[in-house]
């Protein structure tokens, strides 16, 4: 494997993992929608 190949591999995989980690962190740390907005309609719809 050449240095160029290693660079491309590390950059590509690093970029994808960074993006996925950022998105998953945001998704998993946000409060549920009904708590965030406190809307009775949303709560009703979840109950159905």
């Amino acid at each position: 494997m050449t240095a160029g190949g290693l660079s491309v591999m590390v950059l590509s995989i690093g970029a994808v993992i960074s993006m996925l980690s950022f998105c998953l962190y945001k998704v998993l740390t946000l409060p549920p929608v009904e708590e965030e907005f406190g809307d009775e309609d949303t709560e009703k719809s979840k109950e159905l």
Partner: protein, 651 residues
């Protein structure tokens, strides 16, 4: 719809919300009047609701006392503050375009004349991560593990990643956001099936006919995808029992695959190869049990379990591959990742990269608009869409790029680059596992993971059609599931019976799974950019969003994506649909169009596609008439009176 304008009625300087309320009192349909006025009344403080209600009733009865204070005017100074800069029938409280990202998510629409406030879907996703996993599960399939590495190796190795990521940013993610936005927009207005989504997005019931491909594509792909899914299950089972450890003879694996799928004889699976029929029926039953349980209890629950399990299985195989002798691993990774910069000057590389992104993300599939229609009106589409895309890329680049081709190269050499998707997956890799220490275990894990990837994808193909049967014909879920099951089973038996050379499967995959996906993606891109409108699209996308889409993405969606898709489509047709003559040998290579006339199975397959299309068009016509008769499109008629700009924004 109205007898005279709001200004004549004394609604001077009317804000969109006040104008909507005036329209509410003059709407022709009682249902529309009720919905509109209820929306406005809800948004007022209790002290003002009575004034509005009284004025509403008096205005309807023609007994307005001109000396009484007019709440439309009285409240304008305070109520208008929230509405300035927004047009009627948009989401007035959404952030205006170009506004910097806010920490707090944008409020949902409140003054839209469409019945978004009152509609509560029977089915909704249970959690944010649930819908992300379901969409990612739909996108992650065999192509991530088997097609991507082959495409990369054939088109410049590491250099392929440059056009690949450019295509992801310019084509893939923007198109996903467009589909998520239109899907949720229609879902909160009561439409989950493609005909309803297209009608709402285009604001005319006639647009429902354009959606025929959004039903045809998932339905027909399901018919043959379920067969491939059954192959994966069969291989996993045979690794489990040890029947697939056939030694190092590569021909043994080719013969095994041919015998399993009936490559040499039509009807093989209904005769000597009947064990495959059992795997097909098991796969079919698993799919329909899950889909019958519904969006949240079936699809979401399964994906929450299946996607992490896929990651675990893939990581086990990855660790096994990377812990082989280091020189071999280095050579295998180099074969996949070493860049060949000269490939970047070849248009084929860019075409292959764009095509890979396009098919990998499942855009133009009819699935994302359906899945996102089950979101609530305040659910985030921007972050969820980006997360699903990122997850798909993780499976493709990080797992597919490190496992499949490097492992195959280590044991089989450079010839693996020329293997097709099925060749790499079902001929080369079993040979690799046979030569690898503990190959039986890793073979089982690999094919079980492919089976899970396939099942999360096939589930997503059933839901759009079930949603159409449910809302178009008011069928219960078990009835629509049964009806769909009968249609899908008939198609699957067609594919299974005509197994010789996999011609039926290949023809359906080309014309529906490739050609029509391009067509549907272009239709959706044009609808979003030019009919739904990028101004509306940008505003709707940011309702409830925790990330902000840069404004230039909307311009890309309107101007670049349709042209980009069109260029890829023309090049694709030139390469595949029409025949071509080899420049070196002078030999004529027939295209898919030539095959229709020369092969009876290919012709039957094309006639089958045409027949299913015709059936779906009739059903869409009937369903649309049902919706019109029931008044479900009444709110669209309100829009017919307004004029629109070329960007779809209402004046």
């Amino acid at each position: 719809m109205v007898e005279h304008g709001p200004e004549k009625a004394g609604v001077r300087g009317s804000s969109p919300r006040l104008t909507t309320f005036w329209l509410a009192s003059h709407a022709r349909s009682r249902t529309t009047r009720s919905l509109l006025s209820r929306n406005i009344l809800r948004s007022q403080p209790p002290s003002k609701r009575f004034l509005f209600l009284e004025f509403f009733l008096c205005d309807r009865l023609g007994t307005v006392d001109e000396k009484r204070p007019n709440p439309y005017n009285e409240g304008a100074s305070t109520i208008d503050t929230a509405d300035q800069g927004n047009e009627m029938n948009e989401s007035p409280d959404a952030s205006p375009p170009h506004k910097p990202a806010a920490d707090k998510p944008t409020d949902p629409p409140t003054g839209d004349s469409m019945p978004a406030e009152d509609y509560v879907s029977k089915e909704q996703w249970g959690s944010r991560i649930g819908v992300v996993l379901a969409v990612a599960g739909s996108a992650v399939g065999l192509g991530n593990f088997l097609r991507f590495p082959g495409q990369a190796a054939q088109n410049g190795g590491g250099a392929f990643l440059l056009p690949y990521f450019i295509s992801l940013l310019v084509l893939g993610i923007p198109l996903c956001w467009a589909e998520w936005t239109m899907g949720r927009f229609s879902g909160v207005r009561g439409f989950h099936s493609a005909p309803g989504v297209f009608s709402v997005a285009c604001r005319t019931p006639k647009a429902r006919y354009l959606s025929v491909f959004a039903l045809l594509i998932p339905l027909v792909i399901y018919m043959y995808y379920i067969v491939i899914e059954a192959w994966c299950l069969s291989y996993a089972w045979n690794y489990f029992t040890g029947d697939l450890m056939l030694g190092e003879d590569s021909d043994a694996y080719t013969a095994y695959f041919d015998n399993t799928v009936g490559m040499n004889t039509d009807g093989h699976v209904f005769g000597k190869g009947s064990s495959m029929l059992g795997f097909i029926l098991i796969t079919f039953a698993v799919n329909f049990v899950l889909i019958y349980r519904g969006v949240s209890a079936g699809i979401e629950t399964f994906c929450k379990f299946a996607i992490p399990l896929m990651v675990v299985c893939a990581l086990c195989v990855l660790v096994r591959v990377l812990t082989l002798p280091s020189e071999q691993v280095s050579a295998g990774l180099g074969f996949m990742w070493n860049p060949k910069p000269e490939a970047l000057t070849d248009p084929k590389t860019w075409l292959a990269a764009s095509g890979q992104i396009f098919f990998s993300l499942s855009v133009g599939f009819g699935v994302i608009i359906n899945y996102s229609s089950y979101l609530g009106k305040k659910d985030d589409v921007v972050l969820s869409g980006l997360t699903a895309c990122s997850m798909n890329e993780f499976f493709e680049v990080c797992l597919g790029g490190l496992i499949t081709l490097p492992a195959a190269f280590i044991f089989l050499g450079a010839s693996v680059a020329s293997f097709g998707t099925f060749g790499l997956g079902f001929n080369a890799l079993p040979n690799v596992f046979a030569q690898m220490p503990a190959g039986q275990l890793f073979g089982f894990l690999w094919f079980f993971m492919l089976f899970l990837a396939a099942i999360t994808s096939s589930l997503s193909m059933l839901q759009p059609v079930i949603a159409f049967f449910e809302e178009g014909f008011a069928l219960e879920r078990h009835v629509s599931s049964t009806f769909l099951g009968m249609i899908a089973l008939a198609g699957t038996f067609f594919v299974v019976y005509f197994s010789k050379g996999l011609k039926a499967l290949d023809t359906l995959d080309f014309w529906v799974g490739t050609f029509l996906i391009f067509v549907l993606a272009m239709i959706q891109a044009v609808i979003y950019g030019w009919v739904f409108g990028i101004v509306r699209g940008e505003r709707e996308a940011h309702v409830g969003a925790h990330l902000r889409i840069p404004h230039f993405v909307q311009l890309i969606l309107k101007y670049v994506v349709p042209v980009y898709l069109g260029a890829i489509f023309v090049a694709f047709c030139y390469q595949n649909v029409l025949g071509s003559t080899d420049a070196e040998t002078g030999e004529y290579k027939p295209g898919y169009l030539d095959n229709i006339m020369s092969d009876s199975v290919v012709m039957m397959s094309v006639l089958f596609i045409i027949g299913v299309t015709a059936m779906l068009l009739v059903l869409i016509h009937i369903a649309g008439n049902n919706w019109i008769r029931d008044g479900k499109f009444a709110f669209l008629e309100e829009h017919d009176t307004g004029s629109t700009t070329d960007s779809g924004e209402e004046l």
